[in-house]
Subunit: 312 residues, 2 copies
């Protein structure tokens, strides 16, 4: 992730962002490795750890942490609720990839540059690992280590995550995705699908970080606008990369959308206009940050730029 | 469920239990029907409702309600947290059946007397419906309707459910189940598997009902003993029924365990000794209730008797 950030900022600022991302990624990786189960029965722990560790851009945890830091203007303490929120969001993302790669869904063999979980562990254990990762996400959001002290925050975070993951959010977006194969969609319908399928969890990441820091209503509203624009931009660029990059660069199978005859921003707008649309969404995300204090913006701005300018 | 209760008690008591079960079942069914999504996209709401409504013994919600009433000695108000707890437990159970019936797991076509969800809606939508039901279970446990007033209770209930459903509970038990096909297990290993696979959620049902009513530590400990014995008895009888009943009576495919070469209490002990073991576990469950006030026992006792004496 660091390269793209360096290429889009300059000098001391770019270096500070690169350092911040590197530090938080290392902390998050260690946090996840320490708290994922090490000894669940029947090979389940191994499959869960394989699904989550050693890969992934960790965009969602970084958004949780950046939103928290934007509001709190501090370093998150090692046992702060924000780490549990960041971890829980990543578990939901990881489980969705495991289930999405199953033969009855996208039937994919490559993810995060490795064989997919069902290729490595079999379909049945992949299904269970996904199920157990979702349960673990909610377990982390009510972990006694912090949630007994802050039960109202735990309830608010669990509600954000449940709504983002469920029938009105990610799962609903995936159901639309299944239903529209081979069909034409207009831009409004395509955006509605992606707002649910990927946007809801990205927005929830931003909101959960802000809620963990006790954001006021005006700040939360600004971060909502940022999160919505970033979420849509992420998907537009995903469609562009699926159409233009190779599998080795992506770490997952490229060219799937066209082969599956799925409506995408590229099939609707073409590559050039899709990229231009993503740039407009980036500008919208950055504009939403304008009303926040100066200390709040650099990390969130860097992540939004990375979303649009990434190569994978 | 009512018939077995009538057959094992007598006179006015039996009638009172039959009435109680009938009343709570009707209330629970209406509660679930009113709160399951009616309009999620891509056919998802339809698949979720099909998976949950019009079928099922509702043993777990009845246990939640009976445990609540044992402690509270009152009628649960329409918006009391206990209904959300009962609903959430049933959603986890329903999602586990949907995923368990998938071709990559048990590959079953009949459940609750109807075609399984993937037979009716396709594998991909069945997978998503299960995923969305799990998210909805946690959404219900932090529902603003009550959880904002009682966040500490919401946190406690969500933790019970997450642990029961996750890698150390139900999902872990299912992973063991996959791993031991064709192997011999001793009774301790078999009981450990079932304590996770089905016992954890049955125990959580009892505990979540008791926690919702503010049970003290001694009461919770007694109900734990009841819930553990009942959970194991349930599985012993499940194995007996799988070996002795027909599919029409069960509402699901009979004889699966032997065909799948799975270790069961019947393969380990034989039908007669398995039944006798279930009767001993029933006596243990009833004995655990002895220390509770007299008003607490009839509903929980009736459910334990039904678990062991049921025909399906």
């Amino acid at each position: 992730m660091s390269d793209a950030v360096v290429s889009t900022a300059s000098g001391a600022d770019a270096q500070a962002m690169t350092d911040w991302i590197g530090r938080r990624l290392a902390q998050m990786e260690a946090w996840l490795a320490a708290r994922l189960p090490a000894d669940a029965p029947g090979g389940l722990a191994e499959a869960m750890r394989y699904a989550v560790l050693d890969g992934g851009k960790r965009l969602r945890p970084l958004l949780v942490l950046a939103a928290w830091e934007a509001v709190a203007d501090a370093e998150p303490a090692p046992e702060a609720p924000v780490w549990w929120a960041a971890g829980a969001v990543e578990l939901i993302h990881a489980y969705s990839l495991v289930h999405d790669d199953l033969p009855c869904m996208d039937d994919d063999v490559l993810r995060r540059g490795k064989p997919t979980v069902h290729v490595r562990f079999g379909e049945a254990l992949a299904l269970l690992a996904g199920d157990a990762l979702q349960a673990l996400a909610f377990e982390w959001l009510v972990a006694p280590a912090w949630a007994q002290r802050e039960p109202a925050l735990a309830v608010a975070l669990a509600r954000e995550l449940a709504l983002a993951a469920g029938a009105g959010g990610m799962a609903g977006g995936q159901a639309i995705d299944l239903a529209v194969v081979g069909q034409r969609m207009d831009q409004a319908a395509l955006e509605d699908m992606h707002r649910r399928k990927t946007g809801a969890l990205l927005l929830a990441s931003v909101r959960m970080g802000a809620l963990s820091a006790g954001a006021d209503a005006a700040t939360l509203a600004a971060l909502d606008r940022y999160g919505r624009a970033l979420g849509l931009a992420f998907q537009v660029i995903d469609d562009v990369l699926d159409a233009t990059a190779d599998s080795a660069t992506l770490g997952k199978t490229a060219g799937k959308d066209a082969r599956a005859d799925k409506p995408t921003f590229v099939s609707l707008l073409g590559v050039g206009s899709a990229r231009a649309y993503a740039e407009r969404l980036l500008a919208e995300a950055l504009a939403a940050l304008a009303g926040l204090p100066a200390h709040a913006t650099p990390r969130l701005a860097a992540l939004a730029r990375w979303v649009v300018q990434r190569q994978h």
